[in-house]
Symmetry: C2
Subunit: 420 residues, 2 copies
């Protein structure tokens, strides 16, 4: 039997637009990976009547209700009270939750005010989701065929509590086991991937296959239901194999976080270092690498050469090359990457020079034209990108940086580059 | 009379978690600035029954319903059909919308397929919101005291259509005029601002004052309702004046986009240039500056010195200083900023060295400790930040970069720095 879920987010800050409901996005992805259909998201403020009405409605149309937010220590935090009331349960004190909170405050070295104890009350008979990432515990219970799960609102806590507390609870609801595997592709648009797979995807029921578009990338998620883990794995394996055969080296990883994370691990495994020389990307490539914890082991540094003087004086790009070819050109991309490799003392260097927009450059080059170069021992590779103006400045920049990561990944794994 | 709104987002991609409902956040902010209360957000898939049920419910509890999404050319795009049906209107062909679409496709140089004409139908008697940012027009009509507005789903289109089409429509619903003014503060936490203003804010009815937390910043929004624009302005002015008196130079701008945008404009006005030397921020500062169109007029470039060798060889930080003081120290921050100023040939240079986390550095410096330096003609200023581990890696980095922008802003406007 397939379950259907409704997500209810509680918080006036969502209705004022102070934050986006990213919890709903995260939970929707996670539920979809568990084979649970999400039919509604609802957002209400910190208002007892409207929350009550939303819950009463949800229980008529979903058999899994997940609330986010409203579990904190202030008088605005009503979720547990209202849910307990709607489902006819008392709130009871959970000593373990209280002890964990006391411990949490000791660790961060702040006094625990009395109102925090409010968070230690949970509906009677509920399974308590102890919170190792904050103070408010969550919980889950079943009443009349409806499963109610309550999770804290702050996105970091919500994500961890879902993954480590709610997912095990929800897995027990399904017959057998549901497993997902996510393949990440770079170098083919979502519509191209979808066009190629549409008929097969529509014909599949177990496992299912769904494409998710990212900026310049596609994620293909295979989800299988089996009597046990081995059975689900056995359903996924042939689909993965077929996709790998079809898309080959466009697939850069399975169950990975990002292209740059894959690159970081390749560099670490091979004991090699990376540097960057960025014109149009303006530091974005270095920023994305250094977003990753542990990047200092492989990333030596970068130069943001936003002017020709910096390209010449810091990276050593010859002035006559800049004059003759223009800053946005293949020879300058090459010279930037090779200069960065020398100046930064790294094994591989990526360079980017192009027109991010909104306007053409002073030589009339179109928006979206970017040269990306990889300087490696004994060889420099260049790609030319023409993204056109529809991507916008941030899209042009993001995709260019991703191409750089992809070029380095391909070199490190002994693959030829796609473009010239 | 105050209006109450419900937002209905239509799209299976939201229920699968492929995207977050950022349209709802944008609209909620915009409606709040118009003095319209938002009580519910609802998300449904591309499913006629569930969309119909959501609309029937919304009309019982809101007098402004705004839908986003489902206006496109495919058979999944049901919003106009369902809304027209719920409110008993026929769909009629709008020749201007069709002509604009033909024009749009000519401009981007792609053929217009027949199914696009489906988008040119709108409910009879509706005011058509022509779309200058995409293909699908939106529309608005009133039926039985309920105003229904339909906007396209893609965030860029939704934002532009709201601002230029829906806002003028909604303004006509209110008696008089509603105006907002947004003051941006850097250097004081949201809870501190709120604590200071709470009693006043609660006592205010016209104008109202609301704080919005951003990472490391606060936005204070004053919203007034008046018989005409001058009357609303007259209500806002004394509140703004009082806030400026109270918060002084912590307020960096009114109705501005960001701290870096303010800095860019100050630099442009004064004909000065900026450069960066980044260790723990890893290119983020340069990236944020170059996110801004027009930054090439003032931003010369940057060095991401993620290793001591790059600090020494590219920025000229003396090796014995690095050995003696450690990379995360005030003297090294100073030397990095002064080195960047020299190497990049810029008037002002910002430097960042610190511990972004998740772990302490090899000298045992705590996560969140960052030195930020500004090298200017004749003077170098340094701030020490201690953000603690609760901010997380990306928070530590973002706030450090913002401090740099703030230091440059203060120097350019002749203000002393807050910290030493």
């Amino acid at each position: 039997m397939s379950h259907s879920a409704e997500l209810i987010a509680v918080g006036t800050e969502l209705l004022l637009g102070e934050i986006a409901n990213t919890d709903a996005q995260m939970l929707s992805q996670g539920l979809s990976a568990l084979g649970i259909n999400v039919y509604y998201h609802t957002v209400v403020g910190d208002n007892p009547q409207r929350l009550r009405a939303a819950v009463e409605l949800a229980r008529t149309r979903a058999d899994v209700i997940i609330t986010t937010g409203g579990l904190g220590p202030t008088c605005d935090d009503l979720t547990k009270n209202i849910l307990a009331e709607c489902f006819g349960r008392k709130l009871v004190y959970n000593a373990e939750a209280a002890a964990r909170m006391e411990d949490f405050f000791r660790r961060i070295g702040r006094p625990m005010t009395e109102n925090n104890y409010q968070q230690a009350y949970v509906p009677e008979g509920a399974e308590v989701f102890q919170n190792d990432w904050g103070t408010a515990p969550g919980c889950a219970f079943e009443e009349g065929g409806v499963h109610v799960l309550m999770l804290p609102g702050p996105p970091g806590e919500c994500r961890a509590m879902f993954r480590h507390r709610a997912v095990p609870y929800l897995r027990r609801l399904s017959q057998g086991v549901i497993l997902s595997r996510s393949l990440r592709l770079f170098g083919l648009g979502e519509s191209a991937v979808e066009a190629e797979l549409r008929d097969e995807m529509n014909a599949m029921t177990n496992p299912t296959l769904a494409p998710y578009a990212k900026i310049g990338e596609v994620e293909l998620r295979i989800t299988a239901r089996g009597a046990d883990e081995a059975a689900a794995q056995a359903l996924i394996a042939p689909v993965e194999e077929e996709l790998r055969e079809r898309f080959g080296s466009l697939i850069y990883g399975a169950d990975v976080d990002s292209l740059e994370q894959v690159l970081l691990e390749l560099l670490r495994d091979r004991g090699l270092t990376l540097g960057t020389a960025e014109s149009c990307t303006g530091g974005l490539t270095a920023k994305r690498m250094t977003d990753l914890a542990g990047s200092s082991a492989v990333f030596r540094g970068g130069v943001v050469s936003y002017t020709n003087e910096v390209k010449r004086d810091v990276l050593g790009v010859p002035q006559d090359l800049l004059d003759r070819e223009g800053a946005v050109s293949e020879p300058v991309a090459r010279a930037m990457a090779e200069g960065a490799r020398r100046v930064l003392g790294c094994d591989l260097a990526l360079s980017f020079t192009g027109v991010a927009g909104p306007d053409r450059d002073d030589r009339g080059n179109e928006v979206g034209l970017v040269y990306v170069a990889l300087a490696a021992p004994g060889e420099t590779r260049v790609r030319v990108l023409r993204n056109g103006p529809t991507r916008g400045r941030s899209g042009v920049r993001h995709i260019a940086a991703s191409h750089g990561f992809d070029m380095a990944r391909r070199w490190l794994t002994g693959l030829p580059d796609r473009d010239k």
